[in-house]
Symmetry: C2
Subunit: 336 residues, 2 copies
């Protein structure tokens, strides 16, 4: 008898902030895996800012989601049936078919993960895409140099919190911005940031100038807009900005004003560089070799905000875009 | 009996577009050169966009001009008295004390130039600072790659016209923008650009899209503002922008809107990099070795717009900021 399960489909393309009605929880029949496939019972799925762009029509750097079809994204789960010897039943795997309880995945797209190093959901955060994003953005795109003062926006989020911690581990002065007093406290008390501010309190430029009286050398941009303009003002000569995202603009329905101070990039010889992590998976081995020991010994913290059950994944996604999470926003699917 | 001569002093800091009253033509006594100095009769001086920034108060990447003092900048002239054996009387030298008829220059700051290769004023343009700016910006900052489609703004100016020609010599498709129909004709008919448009005709984005149906890969930015925003829209994946200047904004008294599309830099993995030529004089020898032969054989053209006499230098500067020149704007001082 065929197995049934649930998935979240895109019901409508959001205009501005996504609404619960833009999503549809559907019951579907789960096929048996064919040759070269495995059947995975998903235990955790990820909601990430980049997914908002895929809900729009038109080309982005990843193809758009289709209306009436299941969403997808990072997930981990347990293999319950396998038609490929390389991925056995019982293995815990990371794959790209989230937003559903059961996934039939090509074995070649399922990576067996080692749950002795870290719990499964860590591979959706600190040991996964957000962690590699932070690592590559800081070291390769931002070209972190000795003595750099680092500023990161969205600093309490999945990526930002790791950017700051990776830089602190290397001895840098780190400044973060976040959207609540509680997050600011977390950055300083728990993650060891040297300074942090709530960007809602006053103009970002005022807060950044106060936090960085000697200027900054590297800006890791997760939010765009006013933050980027303030960073360009405060960056020192030969400073760099790693442009990772603009979560503050993903829901915008009106054009967002751009940085009015780009001319400063000439005299200060600034480099602003956009990147997406998908180009940098060649760095994955190096990244894990550096980060896994730090995680094991407790010198890096991987805070999670966990929402229960697939039905609540749309709200988790909406809340994540609003900044409701501290650390990685995750959805737990069923229980082990 | 002491020699007298003239110099142009800064009478007032311009607000917006410089006015003739911001300058003062003064008669001054010319001292004899001391030990290690030479006395130069200037024959040519340069007016350059970067000088506008030095007329403002406050720090820039070069110190501001002082009110009541002579301006300075690139000049060439003939040594008429020398107190340093390395720079003999009769030599033609390039130095930094323009805006005056006679200059007492440290011999260490006067570079003897070879007028057999090119006429003296070429060392203020194609074989000098503007030429090196074009060369370094295109190759080192813009990282010109095989097959790149190159777009340059201010393309009929001293720097832009060389950017386009250097790229054409290497076989690239080159698009330029300029501020008049005559300049557009010059770019295509004389300099061999593949496409050019008058940015005053319609929105830059419309013209650029029409001229570059396959997009652009490298943007050399001389003007900032709307041009930069349009270029970010049209740049292809892994595209680069070399930020050289923003002549469109130098006279602005109101904040200029920034590019509202910076978020595109993430998905397209764009790199925007500011630079100033002063950091790159180590490339001078390589630059001359490449450009001087091309100039000699006529495969590079160095158009000049020449204004006569020091008294007209302020107006030449004002007109250059308005885009009155084609090629290098120069002031000829006295006659040989």
């Amino acid at each position: 008898m065929p197995r049934t399960g649930h998935e979240i489909e895109l019901a409508a393309r959001p205009s501005g902030e996504p609404q619960p009605t833009d999503f549809h929880l559907a019951e579907v029949t789960v096929p048996d895996p064919g040759p070269g496939q495995v059947l995975v019972r998903n235990t955790w799925m990820s909601v990430d800012p980049y997914m908002r762009g895929r809900m729009n029509e038109g080309k982005s750097y990843v193809p758009p989601f289709q209306i009436g079809k299941a969403l997808d994204g990072g997930a981990v789960g347990e293999v319950v049936a396998s038609e490929d010897a390389s991925v056995p039943v019982g293995a815990t795997v990371l794959h790209g078919m989230g937003w559903r309880e059961w996934a039939v995945v090509p074995a070649a797209s399922a990576r067996v993960i080692d749950t002795a190093i870290a719990p499964p959901q860590a591979y959706l955060g600190v040991l996964g895409m957000p962690g590699l994003t932070a690592y590559v953005g800081l070291l390769d795109i931002g070209e972190l140099r000795d003595g750099d003062v680092v500023f990161v926006s969205g600093a309490a989020g999945a990526v930002g919190s790791l950017v700051g911690q990776f830089a602190k581990l290397r001895g840098h002065t780190v400044i973060g911005s976040a959207g609540s007093a509680a997050k600011v406290d977390h950055l300083i008390a728990d993650l060891g940031f040297d300074a942090a501010f709530n960007y809602k309190d006053r103009p970002v430029l005022d807060s950044l100038r106060a936090a960085a009286p000697e200027g900054i050398d590297l800006y890791f941009d997760n939010v765009g807009g006013e933050h980027l303009e303030a960073a360009i003002d405060v960056l020192n000569t030969h400073g760099r900005a790693a442009l990772c995202g603009a979560v503050g603009q993903y829901n915008a329905t009106e054009p967002t004003p751009g940085p009015g101070n780009m001319v400063l990039a000439v005299g200060k010889r600034l480099t602003l560089r956009g990147f997406i992590v998908g180009d940098h998976y060649a760095r994955f081995g190096d990244f894990v070799a550096h980060v896994a020991p730090a995680l094991a010994e407790g010198s890096i913290q991987a805070r999670e905000t966990v929402v229960e059950a697939l039905a609540n994944a749309p709200q988790a996604f909406i809340d994540m875009l609003r900044g409701a999470n501290t650390g990685k926003m995750l959805v737990r699917l069923g229980s082990a």
